[in-house]
């Protein structure tokens, strides 16, 4: 069997390799890395100054949360952290495109969307501390629990959207996943179902260029957004580090879904600036030059430049957001470090909606075993 050298698949298709944002003619962009507003022939947005400042604030705060969480993991307070560093605009932009009664189905990295949906960061921290599997209410927040198995949630999102259709509701569903997920069978099933039933679901792919160590070239020989054509619905690639473009594109796709036009595939072209998780070491599989190049496309810096240049944010505003970030970080730190797990016996309590006699008996056995140590000298 002939062997193909690894180099043979490096950037085999124009537009399929990283990093090459400026050379992307098919990339929707409304704010350049230099902070210049540009127009797109299809997608436009006209945010108010308050909205722009609000987007900036969210970007800064979720990055501050992320930084604090990484530090807390290093200090042994979290078992693991999946950093969103570099993907703030993709997540904050997508989160802001959602209406209150829309529903989002995240992976395990969508802290920025969680933030926009009003999920208490401590309810995310509890998952990574090992206290629970996520402490927020998916129904109340319109934000499902994190899904670890890639990409099981894309089918859940599609089924939820089929329920929306049956309810006759004006609700759209946003399914998050990454570039690696697109190789899985389940997401291909999800897209087939969504197309077949014209379900109001938007597939939001954050192409951060890596699935842990595997580069995008290992997952796809074509730009990901072009896959949508094969399923029979529109695909669009957006600058994932441009919060305005992400907001505009996602808002349009969700609106189309609500109006009965079926699914859209959005490829938010971005970059994972940090490690896959705190257990990962990206220096083993990617070059520092690449990271430096992407730093020039930072999602926060470009909006800051734009706000400052347009006179929409002064030094006091930026300092105020920084201070707010520090307050948030302090709250997250104290809340996380003081977080205790519930009594271990609670693990028996929600396995079923209707408890079974054998499990109730095992619960009693566990309690009796624990009680047998009470009063012992050790």
């Amino acid at each position: 069997m002939p062997t193909v050298p690894a180099t043979a698949v490096a950037d085999p298709v124009p537009g399929a390799g990283a990093p090459h944002l400026p050379r992307q003619p098919d990339l929707v962009q409304l704010l350049t890395p230099e902070g210049q507003r540009v127009e797109d022939p299809v997608y436009s947005i006209d945010p108010t100054p308050d909205e722009l400042r609000g987007l900036y604030r969210d970007l800064v705060l979720v990055r501050r949360w992320d930084t604090e969480a990484t530090a807390l993991q290093r200090q042994g307070e979290l078992g693991l952290w999946a950093s969103l560093l570099g993907q703030e605009a993709a997540q904050v932009g997508a989160g802001h495109a959602l209406r209150p009664d829309d529903m989002a189905f995240p992976t395990y990295r969508e802290h920025g969307v969680a933030w926009v949906r009003g999920v208490d960061p401590l309810h995310v921290m509890s998952l990574f501390r090992g206290v629970d599997n996520g402490g927020w209410d998916p129904v109340e927040t319109g934000f499902n629990l994190y899904t670890i198995v890639i990409p099981a949630q894309t089918l859940h999102a599609t089924g939820y959207a089929m329920g929306v259709q049956r309810d006759g509701a004006e609700t759209a569903v946003l399914a998050f996943f990454g570039d690696g997920a697109t190789s899985q069978g389940e997401i291909n099933e999800a897209m087939i179902w969504a197309a077949s039933f014209q379900a109001p679901v938007v597939f939001f792919c954050q192409n951060n260029q890596y699935a842990i160590s595997a580069p995008i070239e290992r997952q796809s020989r074509v730009p990901l957004y072009q896959r949508a054509a094969g399923f029979g619905f529109p695909g669009v690639r957006v600058d994932g580090n441009d919060v305005l473009a992400v907001l505009a594109v996602t808002r349009a796709a969700l609106a189309a879904a609500r109006e009965g036009q079926g699914p859209t595939f959005i490829e938010a072209f971005t970059y994972r600036m940090g490690a896959h998780t705190t257990s990962d070491d990206p220096t083993r599989y990617r070059l520092a030059d690449e990271l430096e190049e992407w730093k020039l496309r930072d999602p926060i810096a470009r909006l800051k430049v734009y706000l400052a240049h347009e006179g929409l944010g002064d030094a006091d505003f930026f300092a105020g957001v920084e201070a707010e970030g520090d307050e948030l970080a302090a709250r997250i730190r104290s809340g996380t470090t003081s977080m205790e797990p519930p009594p271990a016996v609670s693990m028996f309590d929600a396995v079923y909606a209707e408890q079974t006699p054998p499990l109730a008996a095992q619960r009693a056995e566990f309690e009796a075993y624990q009680a047998s140590f009470e009063g012992s000298s050790s």
Partner: protein, 326 residues
């Protein structure tokens, strides 16, 4: 009292119909279940009467059927998924085990999963590969799922309605080779609880446990044993997760002997768990070890050999002889 003579298949069909009439949130999903009525015709006529939104002819993708059922359940629906044959459940195994089973626990009870997975299971129909499997142990081993197996038209009619009304996910195993077995079904009766075992024939010498298609085999063995002067007590387990062993324990304490019968491969099958539990709770009453009669530990064989693979009357009686010889 309205009584009808029904096959298991027709009883399931009527039970599904009644569940759909009772609750507008019940949605049937599966391959070929609408226009065709399912390859076994269990859903015959339901799409015509309830429409395509409630009896959904899905794409050919089992993970998709179960995965979208999760989302529908989150939206307040009660999806009833048909897996066309037992051997085709495995593409959906990930969704069942990692998602359906865990959703209630991982959400601390905030996200219920009232999903039913109907699976025609077991062999004896002369089918090709992957059409004769007994996958129940995989699901009974998975916390968060409930697993039942019906053996007769009465349980089929009521059981499917009870499974649909249950707040937890239920893997509902249908004995495909018995689909055409008939019995009188009282459509106005008060049904027995879904998650309970039942003594279906009283006896004194050996307790024989079975479920699904093997209940009939066990009853035939009891008839044959009676001719030889042996009295077998037969228990239809009905529920495999949770197990309801109270009737079993009471029986074995009396008979002192226990034989478990299932089509599934013997090693680590339900019989192994039951043997362990019966031994724990009946140790001082046992006159013989708990014996298992199951499929051999081989891939389900080609159809011309399946009669040698499947437990039958003679193998059950052989185990009874061995139990009595201790």
């Amino acid at each position: 009292m309205t009584t009808e003579t029904l096959t298991i298949g027709k009883a399931l069909n009527l039970g599904l119909r009644r569940a759909m009439e009772d609750d507008a949130k019940v949605v049937l999903m599966g391959e070929d279940i609408g226009r065709l009525g399912g390859v076994f015709r269990i859903t015959d006529g339901l799409q015509k009467d309830f429409g395509e939104a409630r009896v959904v002819d899905t794409p050919l993708a089992e993970a998709g059927i179960v995965g979208t059922a999760v989302g529908l359940a989150m939206r307040g629906y009660r999806p009833v998924c048909e897996i066309q044959f037992d051997g085709f459940v495995f593409p959906a195994f990930n969704q069942l085990v990692t998602q359906v089973a865990k959703m209630h626990a991982r959400s601390q009870g905030r996200v219920p999963m009232p999903v039913v997975i109907r699976i025609p299971f077991g062999g004896g129909i002369g089918a090709v590969e992957h059409h004769s499997e007994s996958p129940e142990a995989y699901f009974a081993h998975t916390p968060g799922l409930k697993v039942v197996a019906v053996s007769n038209p009465v349980d089929a009619y009521w059981g499917i309605q009870q499974a649909i009304a249950a707040p937890d996910p239920v893997v509902f195993l249908e004995p495909k080779r018995r689909y055409w077995e008939k019995a009188e079904v009282d459509l106005d009766a008060t049904p027995e609880p879904l998650f309970g075992s039942r003594v279906v024939r009283g006896g004194d010498d050996v307790t024989v446990l079975a479920y699904g298609p093997m209940v009939k085999t066990a009853l035939q063995a009891a008839d044959a044993a009676a001719e030889e002067g042996r009295s077998l007590e037969v228990v239809d387990l009905r529920t495999l997760s949770p197990l309801d062993l109270d009737p079993v324990i009471a029986s074995v304490r009396r008979t002192g002997r226990c034989v478990v019968v299932h089509e599934a491969q013997t090693t680590l099958g339900l019989g192994a768990e039951i043997a362990a539990r019966v031994t724990e709770q009946c140790f001082h009453s046992l006159e013989a070890p708990v014996l298992r009669v199951g499929g051999w530990d081989v891939p389900y064989p080609p159809a011309r050999m399946e009669e040698e693979y499947l437990p039958d009357l003679d193998r059950v009686l052989d185990a009874v002889d061995r139990a009595m010889a201790f």
